[in-house]
């Protein structure tokens, strides 16, 4: 969870999210990353350090311009948590929707079970059942 927390904290900043978005399209140098922002190179470097610390990006040590590289696994862990969470709520909503339909369609309690199916006198048979204690599903005996 620590890794995930660190990733979320890193992604909490809009500039860092923009950097990650840029790097999702390919490696880039600090200069290239700084270009779209009204920010000094040291400012960008600070953000890069945060991203590097939580493992979201890596930087080549030997290359002259040390291009930044997005580490997909770290990002994917955070993104899949979000996706999983969204999926859970969507499926809960789907099930709740179905459940609400079910309970609103269910037969009314015995006293008010007036919408007799098919026949207008439909309420009589229900009342005549000897075991009318609990409403049974079998009341709808079509002739």
């Amino acid at each position: 969870m620590d890794q995930l927390d660190a990733t979320f904290t890193a992604l909490a900043d809009p500039t860092r999210r923009a950097i990650v978005t840029r790097l999702a399209q390919g490696d880039a140098t600090v200069n290239e990353l700084a270009a779209p922002f009204d920010m000094t190179l040291p400012g960008i470097s600070k953000h890069l350090k945060v991203l590097e610390r939580c493992g979201l990006i890596s930087r080549t040590r030997h290359a002259q311009f040390r291009p930044c590289h997005l580490e997909r696994q770290a990002l994917d862990a955070a993104m899949s948590w979000i996706e999983e969470n969204r999926r859970i709520w969507e499926q809960r909503f789907d099930k709740l929707d179905a459940h609400l339909r079910d309970i609103q369609r269910a037969p009314a309690p015995p006293e008010t079970a007036s919408q007799g199916p098919l026949s207008p006198e439909g309420r009589l048979p229900g009342k005549q059942l000897p075991h009318a204690e609990r409403p049974s599903m079998g009341e709808r005996n079509d002739p």
């Binding site: 969870m1 995930l4 927390d5 979320f8 904290t9 992604l11 909490a12 900043d13 809009p14 860092r16 999210r17 990650v20 978005t21 999702a24 399209q25 990002l75 993104m79 948590w81 979000i82 996706e83 969470n85 969204r86 999926r87 859970i88 709520w89 969507e90 499926q91 809960r92 909503f93 789907d94 099930k95 709740l96 929707d97 179905a98 459940h99 609400l100 339909r101 079910d102 309970i103 609103q104």
Partner: protein
């Protein structure tokens, strides 16, 4: 409120249900209803393991059981705010994640449920960091997912 840009809620899920607000609200706090929908697809939430004490400080506990292998996922939260039938707020002591459910009356006997989750895993504790979540992490995730498909 107004000085915060919209969407401060880190993760927001909204759905409109064709049912009156009181009923939808009850579904969220009564085990005999929760058992029908609390587990996502392939996961059930047995009613006997659901505990709901809908008042500030009261518990909200469930055990979700995987249909496939029977593995169990207990959830434990504590109610922070309860306004029947408008709002439920609970927080998970384990992670600090707070979930606010808002129930709004719509015309035609419909109800909008809005789930807003803040403090997504421990993150965004500082106001500065919190402001960063404004554009909403889930949209960011969706955007990145789309990007990933293009690459």
């Amino acid at each position: 409120m107004s000085d915060q840009p919209p969407g401060v809620g880190e993760l927001i899920y909204t759905r409109v249900f064709d049912a009156p607000r009181e009923l939808v609200y009850r579904c969220m706090i009564e085990p005999e209803h929760l058992t029908h929908f609390w587990g996502p697809a392939g996961v059930s939430a047995p009613p006997e393991s659901i505990k709901v004490d809908a008042r500030p400080g009261g518990v909200f506990e469930t055990v979700m059981v995987s249909d496939a292998d029977g593995s169990q996922y207990p959830t434990r939260a504590v109610f922070v705010d309860v306004v029947e039938p408008e709002r439920l707020v609970w927080t998970e002591p384990g992670t600090g994640m707070t979930t606010t459910s808002t129930f709004s009356d719509l015309d035609g006997g419909r109800t909008e449920v809005r789930i807003r989750q803040t403090n997504v895993p421990e993150a965004a504790r500082s106001p500065e960091a919190r402001a960063g979540f404004v554009t909403s992490l889930d949209r960011f995730a969706a955007y990145l997912a789309a990007l990933a498909n293009d690459v």
